[in-house]
């Protein structure tokens, strides 16, 4: 684990987030916000037979929350809803692989929160 948050791997996810831009074919949608940061995110999921088939999102947020959304949504694509329900904060944080200070933890878990809200 590198100690610097803004390493290229993270910045790449931020500059070109995967699945960014809301798709029209979806079955589930949710919004979440982190009022402390002024961050907000919308996710859309297409769920068929208990499996997340498509994911997309749109957000206003910092590097960490955007990179986390990109990584986490790509991670859940193709996974079973019941598995995603069981995820805790460690799941998105382990995808980021960077040490977050307490003040920035929520940036790394907002994507999980909004996805679980959508399910």
């Amino acid at each position: 684990m590198e100690d610097f948050l803004y390493q290229d791997r993270i910045l790449d996810e931020y500059r070109a987030p995967r699945n960014h831009g809301l798709r029209d074919d979806f079955t589930h949608q949710a919004k979440a916000a982190n009022p402390v940061c002024g961050d907000s995110i919308i996710v859309r999921l297409k769920i068929e037979n208990g499996i997340v088939e498509e994911v997309s999102f749109k957000n206003i947020g910092c590097v960490i929350s955007t990179a986390s959304a990109s990584l986490f949504l790509a991670f859940i694509k193709g996974r079973a809803v019941k598995d995603i329900h069981a995820f805790g904060p460690d799941t998105p944080l382990s995808l980021l692989k960077i040490p977050l200070t307490p003040g920035r933890l929520k940036c790394g878990t907002l994507a999980l929160e909004v996805v679980q809200k959508a399910l």
Binding site: F4, P17, C37, G38, S40, V63
Partner: protein, 416 residues
Amino acid sequence: MNAELKYKKDFPIFSFWEEKGRPLVYLDSAATAQMPDVVVAAVKEFQESARANVHRGIYSLSEEATEKYEGARVSVARFLNARAPEEIVFTRNTTESINLLAYSLGKSFFKKGDRIILSRAEHHSNFLPWQMLRDEKGIMLDIVDPDENGEISLSSIEEALTKNTRLAAFSHVSHVFGTINQIEEMGTLFRKNNILFVVDGAQSIAHMSIDVQRINADFFAFSGHKIGAPMGIGVLYGRKEIFESLEPFMRGGGMIQEVFIEKSRWEDIPARFEAGTPNVEGAIGLAAALEYIEGVGYDAIQKIDRGLTTAIVDSLCQMPGVRVYGPKDPEKRGGVVSFSIDGIHPHDLATVLSRDGVSIRAGHHCAMPLMEFLGVPALARASVWVYNTPRDVKELVRGVENAIRILYPVTRKSRA
């Protein structure tokens, strides 16, 4: 000695981190100012030689503690040019001062249909207590917007006044824009219209001399920790005639004349508003902090403020995509510079700066209605005080340039 370090050496935290090889570039004094050694010493001396409860004991130690505590009240009264020490109530901070006031005014002063005027730029602590009165007592709020320079014009206030306006609550210096509001003119206007004037002095007390009589403030609130005093000590100044008519905020020890099962009678001010054992070391530390400021002098502080904030504004304005908020005229600005950078979230900026040892504030600054008005999710804010130096500004500028280099986004394109 290097003239720049004249005041920095008075604050032990800077040598502590210097010795650790991680010099502190502290640019968040608007949140909490560092503590000078004379305040540390005053608090330590009290703990080691005079610690006892106040107003209770008959023994000499308690009497000494009481003398010091009441002495601090006299210092604050003199510092603010209050007419009497009784006009000074010790609280925890500005937030508690304003909550105390709103609660007590809500008990007897306001009636349904009364109106309160305040600005959109207020800190939540000078908004939420009044919002509570609106929701609980049927009082209306009239909100005045700042202009594009973060200034609140007298004419916009005059336009918003109604015959039912009974209280005005404005910050002396904006914690977001840094604007020094036209508090004296406001005070004259409100007094003429028989409107109670509550001044949030959280951001002015450390930067300019306060004369509560000259500005026609009926109430003036500030926090000790923003002028180098301990955390957990604050002040509510109140004009005696009004203060005396108010019901207590909290009830308990020290604020009663007599208590019966059926009824009780309250102490006179200020004791009526100081239920429970007060923060005696805080008050003593506050008096020492005020003495320190008097020694430095507000002229010297303002010279430092103006020099450094002007340098920060000028440097930031030259950077691509950086927007600086607040007054264009440096004379109208206190010790605060808020800014945003296109495409960079202030939290990312603050995190990168922190790695370079530079401490700034990033977030909504407890002013969410204002952030919404400005159309930004959050802002970055650098603030200065007496110990800051041109070197701190250089470090900030270098840090911001570095952050832009690291974080500046290329055009965002979605990958499949």
